[in-house]
């Protein structure tokens, strides 16, 4: 009721609109700015403002249960608000880090030598215009009530990030961007096909011609009437399509390349925030499909893809030679865990998924920051060539790297352990004992491989002169985020947990 009133009233909340406008304006301003310092401050300010607005939106949703503007085309419930909040958080922590990261790059003359300083300005402008656009697309994915617009926005995340993957212009980064564009393009085409089929069903069931026909609220409420064959086909296409975007196996091949070639803050954004957007889209369709087909068909598929993704990560993590790619496989693994949790279903499954998404989004950027610092220090990301000693050469990032590695593999007392344990319980209560046991076994293997590689990297005798890590822009985000990660292991803020629970409730469907 309050949503209807808000939609009609003059003083309706414009939070969502504001949220979308901030990154757009930031991107536009950056495009016309000439000074590097201006770009940096605009970027930082926009990240702060976006995070603030995301908190506002979350508060609004917690108070009213939902929030909408633009006569319902933009709509947010707990699920959207959570995804937006996480995206804004990652965007926020990436902003100061990227300033330090890019300054270091410039100092290391990655963009070319001193005389073409113009070149580095072009590069910086590219980064500072495209990253807000990426954030904008991610926000739009979560707040668009129209499935078609959601698809467009997800395609937008790909488009905005392609040139960020090619940022360094190396042959390998072109290759990575090429794979990213082509595999992502095919994946999104499949998702579009699934969306078309869904819309066709709505069309059949409602005969609606208006724009609201693709709004997922409408679709969800009428899903029971849809044809089963069509929805089955649609869900398979959607799972393959958005699964490609989320990097589920076997459509994951673009992920290690893109994550290892992009600048570290971009990789953090892709891994911790864009992954959530794809998961969000998948979850929305999951709800529709369950309403139509019942839980068993989508659950089986989700469990299959989830286990496959975790399983494919195991050997690649064990024999990995590059730590950036190691992190990418960890993302594939965590994407698989989220999908698996959704597949387990029940009450605990969605809750586990949402918690896992939250904790992963907080922890993953930290790893990418540390990896980025290490890579900028040594000039490569090879595990073998680095040969240990980061603890000495990087007095801040080194130890934090180890801590983050422990956190991301789900070691107690860190938060990811809680969510993984919850997913474990969800698996048992859904009577998937065999799959759950397999899941645990693979998690242990991943922990072993991951911890082995990172400890090899961080521990050991000093390798080169100790560095004081003078660049505050690079160290403070690492320290701050590490504090948050540690804190989250013991205390999750009440409102955030309420949001997580609300989001999980949306995904808990009783057909």
């Amino acid at each position: 009721m309050s949503a209807v009133l808000a939609g009609l009233g003059v003083d309706r909340p414009m939070t969502i609109l504001l949220l979308l406008l901030i990154p757009l304006v930031a991107s536009g301003l950056t495009a016309v700015t000439r000074s590097r310092r201006m770009m940096e401050s605009i970027h930082l300010l926009s990240a702060l403002a976006a995070f603030g607005t995301a908190i506002l939106l979350a508060a609004e949703v917690l108070a009213n249960g939902e929030s909408s503007s633009w006569s319902g085309y933009l709509y947010a419930d707990s699920l959207s608000a959570l995804v937006v909040l996480l995206a804004a958080f990652v965007y926020l922590v990436c902003a100061p880090y990227s300033i330090g990261y890019l300054r270091t790059d410039e100092r290391n003359q990655v963009f070319g030598s001193e005389e073409n300083g113009n070149m580095s300005l072009v590069k910086l402008r590219k980064y500072y215009t495209l990253t807000p656009l990426l954030a904008f697309s991610m926000f739009l994915v979560a707040v668009a009530s129209n499935l078609g617009v959601m698809w467009v926005a997800l395609e937008g995340t790909t488009l905005a990030s392609i040139f960020l993957v090619t940022f360094y212009g190396r042959p390998t980064s072109l290759e990575a961007a090429w794979k990213y564009a082509m595999i992502g393009g095919v994946g999104l085409s499949m998702a579009l096909f699934g969306t078309i089929l869904t819309y066709y069903e709505v069309h059949q069931a409602l005969g609606a011609e208006s724009l609201t026909a693709l709004s997922w609220q409408v679709i969800t409420s009428h899903a029971a009437k849809f044809d089963h064959t069509v929805m089955r086909l649609a869900f398979i296409l959607i799972l393959l399509g958005y699964g490609t975007k989320a990097g589920l196996a076997p459509m994951h091949t673009w992920k290690p390349d893109a994550y290892s070639e992009a600048p570290a803050p971009v990789a953090a954004l892709l891994s911790a925030a864009v992954l959530n957007s794809a998961m969000y889209a998948l979850a929305r369709f999951y709800v529709i499909t369950v309403r139509c087909l019942g839980p068993s068909f989508p659950s089986q598929l989700l469990i299959l893809f989830g286990l496959l993704s975790i399983g494919i990560a195991v050997p690649f993590i064990l024999v990995q030679r590059s730590y950036r790619r190691l992190l990418a496989y960890s993302s594939i693994d965590h994407g698989g865990i989220m999908v698996l949790a959704l597949g387990f279903g029940g009450v605990l499954g969605p809750l586990g998924m949402m918690l896992h998404m939250t904790f992963h989004s907080v922890t993953k950027p930290l790893l990418f920051f540390c990896a980025g610092n290490a890579q900028q220090r040594t000039g490569h990301d090879s595990l073998r060539k680095t040969a240990g000693g980061l603890l000495h050469t990087l007095p801040v990032s080194g130890p934090v790297f180890l801590l983050a590695a422990l956190a991301v593999t789900g070691t107690p007392p860190f938060s990811l352990f809680q969510s993984e344990f919850l997913i474990l319980r969800a698996g048992f209560s859904a009577h998937h004992e065999g799959w759950t046991a397999l899941f645990v076994a693979m998690l242990v293997a991943i922990f072993g491989g991951f911890f082995y590689h990172i400890s090899q990297l961080v521990l050991g005798p000093p390798n080169g002169p100790p560095d004081t890590e003078t660049c505050k822009w690079k160290t403070y985000p690492v320290i701050g985020l590490a504090a948050v990660v540690v804190l989250m292991g013991f205390w999750l803020p009440g409102p955030v947990y309420a949001l997580v629970k609300g989001a999980a409730q949306i995904l808990t469907v009783h057909p």
């Binding site: 698809w151 072109l174 095919v186 969306t195």
Partner: protein, 227 residues
Amino acid sequence: MFFWQDPQFGDRMITLMAALVLVLQIMMVGQRWLVTNIRAFALQSLLLAGISCTIAYFNDARDLYIAAALMLLLKALLLPVMLRRLVARIEIRREIEPLVNVPLSVLISGLLTLLAYVVAEPLQARPAMGAAGLGRNTLPVAIALFLIGFFMMINRRKALTQVLALLSLENGLFLAAISLTYGMPMIVEVGIFFDVLVAVMILAILVYRIRETFDSMDVSRLSRLRG
């Protein structure tokens, strides 16, 4: 009543154009010349615009005229011109080296068409809506375009032909959208076309840069990143 107002005639025309679209798709699978491929793609898009117009005319679906206009402008005119320029710039004309040889590829395309027929059958069996379900019978062609486009992407090693395959795959989606739903809601359509356009610009630049850096358009040489 003039003969062009006869819905049966419209139905025939749509069916015929859809069949030609399919023929062009299979021709692209079996064709070695890049320029011919681009031309086939342009013609295919033109036919899709024609189908869109015909459905719009007989079903009084105004939205579809806009979709048809966009299709005509972007995919039948602008993109082919862009791709032609790209071909002229990188001086590659006969560069398609499929992984599977041509006769087998064509055979696989035929089998994929049959698969599309099997997949589409349950959807076609349902009661039609609108003016006698005009254009509904093109759904198998749409699915076939999608599948064959997918096959082409796997089968082709060159960057530019992969782009063409992706575009023709998207043509299949367009046909599915207009034949099943008489066009998705307008805003989505515009969004899709915008995306396709931007995507192709990015791909074109990428192709160019790949050419610059690798001196080859062969995607199979893009294999340094492994594991």
